[in-house]
Symmetry: C2
Subunit: 337 residues, 2 copies
C-alpha cells in the first residue's frame, strides 16, 4: 500500500533514480537498455509517476480550473464534457468548481492554491472582479460565453450574441409578427445585454419596437413566471404574438407554460424563438426555432486560446464566433393568414 516511488524502481532496476525519471519523460535521453530495465521494474512494482511531485518541480500542474454554475441549462454539461475531452487530448485535466455566487470568493482562493495552469470561467454568476483577480494573479484565463466590459486584457470566447438577437428580431418581423416580446436572462449578464441590444436594434431597423418585456433570469421557474406576466392580459390583441427568449432553457419553460397553462397553440397563436440551440430544442415536443451558438467551435477556440496563452505565445484576445438561425416549428414561417 505504501506508494512505490521512483527510488524503489531504481533499486530494483539497478539504475539511478534519475534514470527512472528520464525513462518516464518523453524525449529525455536514455538508452534503450536502461529504459527497458526501468520499464520492467516499474511494471513489477506497479509504479506510476507522482504527478503532484512533478507539478511541484516543473511548476506546471497540467490542471485547468473550470468554473461553472447551474448545470440545469443543458448548454453547460455539453460544454463541460467536450472541453474536458479536448483538454485531456492535450494532457490536461479539469479541476471543476461549481460556483454558488455567494461562495465565489472562497472558491477563487482554492483555485489559486491548486496552481491550475489555466482557467475557464463559464459561470455567469461569478463577478467580473473575481475574474480580473485571476488575471492579476498571472493565470491565463478565458471567459467562456461571457465578456467583461472595458477589459482588454481578458480573453473571451463568445458567439455573436448581438447578431443573434438582431437576426431573431428581423426574422420575427419578416414572418409577419406584430407584437414581439422579449424575455430576458440575467439582466446584467453580457450575453443578455448583447442579445437584447441586438433584438432591439433589429426591430428598430424594421421600424418596430419591443412590444413587451419580462425577466426570467436564465432560470426555468422564473421563465414560467415571466411568460405568465407577459400573457396575463385579457384581450388577445393585447398579448404578444411572438416572443424571443434569451436562451433555450427558458424558452422550453415558456413553451410549456403557454401551451399547457394558457392553452395557446404554438406557433398558431404565438411564435417562440430561443437562443443556444441546445439538444432539447430539437426534441419533437418543442421543435424550437433557435439562434445557434456553435458549442464545438467555441470549445475549440477556448482550448486553443488557453493553450496559446499558457505557452506565452499570445496575449489576450476576444473571439466572437458567428451564429445562425435554425428554423423549426415553434415559429410561424409566413405572415398570419
Amino acid at each position: 500500500m505504501a506508494a512505490v516511488t521512483s527510488l524503489d524502481v531504481a533499486r530494483l532496476a539497478q539504475v539511478s533514480q534519475s534514470a527512472v525519471s528520464r525513462a518516464f519523460t518523453p524525449g529525455a535521453s536514455v538508452s534503450d537498455v536502461t529504459r527497458a530495465k526501468v520499464e520492467e521494474a516499474a511494471r513489477k512494482l506497479g509504479y506510476r509517476p507522482n504527478a503532484i511531485a512533478r507539478s511541484l518541480i516543473t511548476r506546471r500542474s497540467r490542471m485547468i480550473g473550470v468554473v461553472m454554475s447551474y448545470l440545469d441549462n443543458q448548454f453547460y454539461p455539453v460544454v463541460l464534457e467536450k472541453i474536458s475531452q479536448r483538454l485531456q487530448r492535450d494532457g490536461y485535466h479539469v479541476l471543476l468548481f461549481i460556483a454558488d455566487s455567494r461562495e465565489a470568493d472562497a472558491v477563487l482562493a482554492e483555485i489559486l492554491q491548486y496552481q491550475v495552469d489555466g482557467l475557464v470561467l463559464a459561470s455567469t454568476s461569478m463577478s467580473s472582479a473575481l475574474a480580473l483577480r485571476c488575471v492579476d494573479a498571472g493565470i491565463p484565463v478565458v471567459l467562456f460565453n461571457r465578456t467583461i466590459r472595458n477589459s482588454h486584457n481578458t480573453s473571451s470566447v463568445t458567439c455573436d450574441n448581438y447578431a443573434g438577437g438582431r437576426l431573431a428580431a428581423q426574422h420575427l418581423v419578416d414572418t409577419g409578427h406584430q407584437r414581439i416580446a422579449y424575455i430576458a436572462g440575467m439582466e446584467d449578464s453580457s450575453t443578455n445585454l448583447d442579445r437584447e441590444r441586438g433584438f432591439r436594434d433589429g426591430l428598430t431597423e424594421r421600424g418596430r419596437r419591443c412590444f413587451a418585456r419580462a425577466v426570467g433570469n436564465y432560470d426555468f421557474e422564473l421563465a414560467k413566471t415571466a411568460a405568465r406576466e407577459l400573457f396575463a392580459g385579457g384581450d388577445v390583441s393585447q398579448r404578444p404574438d411572438a416572443v424571443l427568449v434569451a436562451n433555450d432553457h427558458m424558452a422550453i419553460a415558456v413553451m410549456d407554460t403557454l401551451r399547457i397553462e394558457l392553452g395557446l397553440q404554438i406557433p398558431q397563436d404565438v411564435s417562440v424563438v430561443g437562443f443556444d440551440n441546445v439538444r432539447q430544442a430539437a426534441w419533437g415536443s418543442y421543435q424550437l426555432t433557435s439562434v445557434e451558438q456553435d458549442a464545438d467551435a467555441m470549445i475549440e477556440a477556448t482550448a486553443r486560446l488557453l493553450l496559446d496563452q499558457m505557452d506565452g505565445a499570445v496575449q489576450s484576445r476576444a473571439i466572437v464566433l458567428p451564429v445562425c438561425l435554425v428554423l423549426r416549428n415553434s415559429c410561424r414561417r409566413g405572415p398570419q393568414p
Copy 2:
C-alpha cells in the same frame, strides 16, 4: 508574477517559515501576535499557500476523481453539480474525467498519477476490471449508480433498481395494461440488469409476461429506433399498450417518437413509464410517470461513504436506497374504458 512563497512572507513578517506555515494551518499552535504579523505580510504580498506542495508532504491531495461519461443524460450533470458542491463543503475538489470507453485505460493511469484521495465511478461504460484496479491500487472507490458482480470489496451506492422495475411492472398491470413491453438500456449494465429483472418478476407475480422487448442502450437515438421496432407491427392489437423504458432519457425519446412519428396518443393509446425521475420528466410536454431514484440521497450516501473510507473508518459497503413511483400523465391510471 514569480509566485510568492511562505519564505517571502516569513522574511517580510520577520518570523520563521514554519511560523507562516502554522498561521495557515487550522489548529496549529501560533500566538495571536505572530499570526497577525503573518497575515498582514501575506496580504501585502498576495500570498496563497501552494496546495501542490502541501499535497506532496501530507500525502493527501484533497482531490476526488470523478469519472463520468455521456452527460446528455440529465441525471448525470445534476449529480456532478451536487457532488462537487457536497465535496467542496468538506474541502475537497473534483478532478473530472470523461471516460470514452476506448481510452479508459489511459484515463485510469492519469487518475492514479494525480494521487486523488478517492474516486467516484459514475460511468456505465468503464469496465469493471478498471474499477477493481483502482481498488487494488489502494484508493477508496465508490461506484455510483452501478455495481460490480461478485465484488464484496467494492463500495457502491445505487437505488433499489430491482424494486423499481417490479413496482413499475405491477403498476402497469394493476392499471389494466395488457401488452407490456420493455426498452432496455445497456444490456450488461448493472442498472439495466436489475431493472429488467425486477420488471420481469413483477409481471410474473401478476401472472403476466413481457410482451415485447427492444434495446436502446441508454442512448437517445437508439431509443427512438427501439420504439420504432416495437411499434412496427400493423395491427393495433399486436402492439404494446404500455412500455417501461429503462431510463427517462430514453423514455423522452420514445415519447417523441410514438407521438410524432407514429401518431399515437399517450396515454390513451400507449402508456410510458421511465426510470430516474430526472427534471425533464416533470416538463409539461412529457409529464412522464417515472421511478424516482433520489439523487440527493445517493449523493449524500456517496460522499459519506467515500469520506469514511478515506478516514479508514469503514470498509466497503453496498448501499441501496429506496425508490418510489412518481405518477404523472404518461400512464393511464385505471383500466382502459
